[in-house]
């Protein structure tokens, strides 16, 4: 079943009750309410797991906090909750906006690879709704969640598993956790260094000038009948 990708104000009737900015306004709709809910709910679960996991992993911290069973329970519940927002995001009529962006995130162009390898210095004019870094981050998180849920479940409910699998699960869980710390820390630092991007995930909208700077090919898809003169000079819209 194919749902044509939809975007912007018309894409999600009733989901955002306040009127969305029309063509020519200073703001462009970037993320639907469902997408933002998906992002922040997943972020909350990952953060809870990261903090409690760190406490469980570092012996002296475990001693400092003391209540190891409580920390473990929070870790397990947050871990099991991690994939729930993803499932819910696909469970309702709001799934179209999510699907459309997942499709964008999944596909990589040669320009995305060039952008990523040059750490955002090359192919900046080719960037669509998502850049190579965002696509890499999304793919990592999507792979990380089932790995952590599966290995964590083996660690928490080990009885059916042979000892070598329990050991292997612990090994994978630990190394994936370290990788996740690095990726999430990078993700947060980059978001904090780019308020325009952070605003998109917080409010769902971004300014046109930010979109044209960071995601020119995506911004160009949002018709602007009266381009401002300064933009028209060095950045042709089409």
């Amino acid at each position: 079943m194919r749902v044509p990708p939809v975007e912007g104000a018309d894409a999600e009737p009733g989901l955002d009750p306040e009127p969305l900015p029309g063509p020519g306004s200073g703001l462009i709709a970037r993320f639907s309410r469902a997408e933002r809910a998906l992002h922040w709910a997943t972020a909350a679960a990952v953060l809870a797991c990261a903090v409690t996991g760190f406490v469980l992993y570092v012996g002296p911290l475990t001693a400092l906090v003391g209540r190891r069973t409580l920390v473990k329970d929070v870790h397990v519940v947050a871990g099991l909750a991690m994939p729930v927002p993803l499932v819910l995001a696909y469970a309702g009529r709001w799934r179209d906006s999510v699907r459309a962006d997942v499709r964008r995130l999944a596909r990589w162009t040669a320009a995305d690879r060039r952008w990523l390898l040059s750490r955002g210095r090359e192919a900046t004019g080719e960037v669509g709704k998502f850049n190579g870094g965002q696509k890499a981050n999304a793919a990592f998180v999507l792979g990380m969640i089932p790995i952590m849920v599966a290995t964590g479940s083996i660690m928490r409910w080990p009885d059916p598993f042979a000892l070598s699998y329990r050991t292997g699960a612990t090994f994978v869980h630990d190394w994936t956790a370290i990788a996740t710390w690095v990726v999430v820390a990078g993700h947060v630092l980059i978001a904090l260094s780019d308020p325009g991007s952070l605003r998109g995930m917080l409010t769902g909208r971004v300014t046109r000038s930010w979109a044209e700077r960071r995601h020119p090919r995506w911004a160009a898809g949002h018709a602007s009948p009266e381009p401002r003169v300064d933009e028209a000079v060095d950045r042709p819209l089409r």
Binding site: P5, E7, A63, R103, T109, A110, L142, P146, W175, A220
Partner: protein, 257 residues
């Protein structure tokens, strides 16, 4: 996962609608990354048990000469994991600490921390092997031999076993008298070149050299000499009472002695 529901084929109509959807083109690398990660994860579960030893050896030059201490966060096999069976990690200062030796003895003992450290000390360097698979190489231990404690208390006729209690209020362990008199059975107050820390079972814990880690009871409070086997906390839950490393619990680890 839902990635698999995405269409890998040609673009549907409406997908390539202009520059705004430039990124609807391209190859589905995101999906390959996800599937690749899942494959690696499954492989890691299958072979991690065998791989982690190699990873530890490979990283040892780094972890052993690391002034920052950051390498202690690296998950290799050479790293203790902290387990407890109660909600709170117990805490007891050296000043409050008492070790009782009682039961079938001629002179029941109540020893302070200083009493213990003024008795003859034994030092050992042994690998520590957990029944869940991880192993820490060359751990340094220091403490009082259980046989010295038993001699000090004087074991009465008819005694056969020890029943050992933790001040966490839940954990217990068992040893035969013959096992307890070996030269690698300690009431340890130092490990890893320092005092036994709270999470490792300080101020004093048991160290049972030739057996899996669950025998080395943490937060040692009482050694009761008895005339029958009283299986310990994990032993009533299915683990072997005689927990020799490599010869019990269905495992074939290299022995630690």
């Amino acid at each position: 996962m839902y990635v698999a529901t995405q269409d890998d084929g040609a673009l549907g109509e409406g997908e390539g609608k202009g520059a705004g959807d430039a990124d609807a083109a391209g190859t589905p690398i995101g999906r390959r990354v996800v599937l690749g990660m899942l494959g690696l994860g499954a492989l890691g579960i299958a072979v991690g048990d065998r791989v982690q030893g190699a990873v530890e050896s490979a990283l040892r030059p780094v972890t052993q000469n690391d002034p920052t201490g950051l390498s202690s966060f690296v998950p290799t096999a050479g790293r203790f994991r902290i387990y407890s069976v109660t909600a709170h990690l117990p805490e007891r200062s050296r000043e409050e600490y008492r070790l009782t030796v009682d039961g079938l003895v001629e002179r029941p003992l109540t020893l302070t921390f200083d009493d213990l450290t003024s008795m003859p000390q034994t030092e050992l360097v042994r690998d520590f092997q957990c029944v869940t698979g991880w192993r820490v190489a060359d751990v340094h231990w220091k403490g009082v031999l259980l046989s010295d404690l038993l001699d000090e208390a004087g074991v009465a006729d008819g005694a056969t076993h020890l029943r050992i209690w933790s001040f966490d209020g839940a954990y217990t362990e068992s040893l035969t008298l013959d096992q307890a008199r070996r030269g690698d059975m300690l009431a340890a107050h130092e490990m890893l070149d320092g005092p036994v820390s709270r999470e490792h079972g300080g101020p004093v814990r048991l160290f049972v050299g030739p057996m899996y880690g669950y025998k080395s009871l943490k937060w040692l409070e009482r050694i009761e000499v008895v005339d029958a086997l009283h299986p310990g906390y994990w032993e009533v839950r299915g683990y072997d009472v005689d927990a020799w490393v490599g010869r019990s619990n269905g495992r074939d680890d290299e022995p630690t002695t």
